[in-house]
Assembly symmetry: C2
DNA sequence: ATGCCGTATGATAGCGCTAGCAGCTTGGCC
DNA sequence: GGCCAAGCTGCTAGCGCTATCATACGGCAT
């Protein structure tokens, strides 16, 4: 039967040119060690000669395996995930794995739908964000027999592997620093309220409670997506509600930048009248005037590590550790008084 | 022979359950109109019953067609492209098209390599950025028989379709506005120097030349990737080189934000001593203090339109226009004197 | 009645590749 | 010299789906 795609160079063409059988070509490409040296060279030459590229679809169909890594992220625009994706992508390029993204829009329901969809295509591995999947999604992932990495945070009982940091500890650490620097009435500005934001906030609350400084009034939050504008609004609101605050810790850097601008508008001097800290440590934090203190996380590295872990597992050399804590770093700058533990003082 | 993937629900299972032949199921799924009503219903019911999901690979192999749209962008972290990708993705979700991204890192050589790679996988369509492909890449794309959209800018002789704006005109427009507002010694700060930056700059130069205000000294550029920090540095440099400038037009908003911070550091009042304008109109521009004038572009819409055009073409209803100009908008804010044509005045 | 046509469904033959085994060499050992 | 294990290479039979052709059927004009 005359069929389509007559032009395509197939494994049979390569085999003919190299004077071997198709299956030997197939092996030479996938498991070079199983083919003798001379043959391998002839085959390689033929491949180059004919510019042969294996058909991924035929390969996937025949082997019931694919080289697709499914990646589900909550947002495509948030720089946080852009960095992670870049890390994933960069490492994937060095392997023969293909990356397939999808956007859950911060919805666990949507995430579950996408997990079903991906799993039905038998990917080689999956990367998902966080630990708050729906129960059904968790069940699917647990019984799926493929490498899975949860990224961005850590938690008990991983589906398979994890690379992240403790968002709670990161929230704690910055709050502890602010306390140590002498701040007392520390506000918390939060938007989006995704699970990771919430755990950062929990870290903040824990520290404040331990210090006996807990106060619901100090927290201003909204489920609206994070943006610089929302940062302006939240800062404005907290200044109205609690004009006596001496610092604000923002659940991310967009909010912090908005807070900085709003302070400028309101004539609130940073850090003299108000300490300001963000989260993520985007590049602009260091360049701002004044430079803004922020909690740095290893986003690129997180994506890269996740992909590496999957690639290794597929290659049959699973990573030594199934859970990797990439930690965080406080980058303290002029927007906060950076005194080491010092006697508390009343803020200007 | 006992083979793998025994679990998978296939079209044959659906056919058995519905009491028809496999090929009829295949048709019912792809061209419902060609199957009679009652049969179609029985088949649909069986599909739902068995939770059947077609195997993309088998489908691609048999039909020599895929549903993959290849998208090549220069950067994954730049918000500009994140917005475009979101537009593409959002529309792709409404079709059965799959999006596959790759990152050219602003390198035409890398872009060519990726174009070869993608084309060898016979995608259903491709989206590429700009009009500056290598000659070889251009040849490949021209002879490829698939819908292709070039996005982000417009130019003569498209490979197939185009959605974008005239970067030159956009550069012109903002410069004309600055002139009309009375600025005379208008600096231009540019980083990265990708083709689109360069055309924006060309627009700026054209206007300055027409006004007899052209001066190489007014342009400070670097091939370093754009960042807020680089914006600080460029502003600092131009202030050293030409302390008499009265406005700066930045080739993007990161640079503009850096310039704003640096002005604050240097004690240069905006807009009193220096007008400031950016490009892209990121969300933060409106929230900044002072709010920064910027040229808004339809990035999300660009991605969405590109995908729509491809989807339509595949569906056999090609769009009426092969070239779509989405234009731009000047969003004028407090960082520039926004006088309408007025008599020139010496800047403070 | 007869034959023709258009429509709806089915049978057949692959798409390009790989799993599982079979067959052939080679070399080592008794 | 004969036998067997180990190492290569090749054959066969699909993976799940669809392009192409074939067939069945009802309606209509002749």
């Amino acid at each position: 039967m005359a069929r389509r795609k007559k032009g395509r160079t197939t494994i049979a063409d390569v085999a003919a040119q190299a004077g071997v059988s198709p299956i030997t070509v197939s092996r030479a490409l996938r498991e070079p060690a199983r083919v003798s040296g001379p043959l391998r060279e002839r085959i390689d030459a033929a491949v180059r000669d004919l510019d042969y590229v294996p058909d991924q679809h035929a390969r996937a169909l025949a082997s019931a395996r694919t080289n697709v890594i499914g990646v589900l992220v909550p947002s495509l625009t948030n720089t946080v995930f852009a960095d992670v994706l870049r890390g994933i992508h960069d490492r994937a390029e060095k392997t023969d794995l293909q990356v397939q993204f999808a956007n859950t829009r911060y919805s666990p329901i949507e995430e579950e739908r996408l997990i079903r969809l991906f799993l039905s295509q038998s990917p080689a591995g999956m990367i998902v964000v966080g630990i708050d999947q729906t129960e059904a999604a968790a069940r699917l992932l647990r019984k799926a027999e493929l490498p899975i990495v949860q990224i961005m945070e850590l938690g008990p009982d991983p589906f398979d592997m994890m690379v992240g940091l403790s968002q709670f500890d990161a929230g704690r650490a910055m709050t502890e620093h602010l306390l140590a620097a002498g701040y007392r009435r520390i506000g918390f500005l939060a938007a989006r309220l995704d699970p990771r934001s919430i755990r950062r906030m929990a870290g903040y609350r824990a520290v404040m409670a331990e210090a006996g400084l807990d106060d619901d009034d100090l927290i201003v939050q909204t489920t609206a997506p994070s943006s610089v504008r929302v940062g302006c609004e939240l800062l404005s609101e907290i200044m109205t509600r609690r004009p006596d605050i001496d610092a604000v810790f923002c659940n991310n850097d967009d909010i912090a930048l908005g807070a900085l601008f709003e302070c400028r508008r309101l004539g609130v001097a940073i850090p003299e009248q108000l300490g300001l800290a963000g989260f993520n440590d985007f590049e602009m934090m260091a360049a701002a005037e004044p430079p803004i203190s922020s909690v740095a996380t290893e986003r690129y590295e997180m994506g890269a590590t996740a992909l590496d872990m999957i690639a290794r597992t597929i290659a049959g050399e699973p990573p030594a550790q199934k859970v990797v804590d990439l930690g965080f770093r406080l980058n303290l700058r002029a927007s906060t008084r950076n005194a080491q533990p010092k006697r508390p003082q009343v803020a200007g």
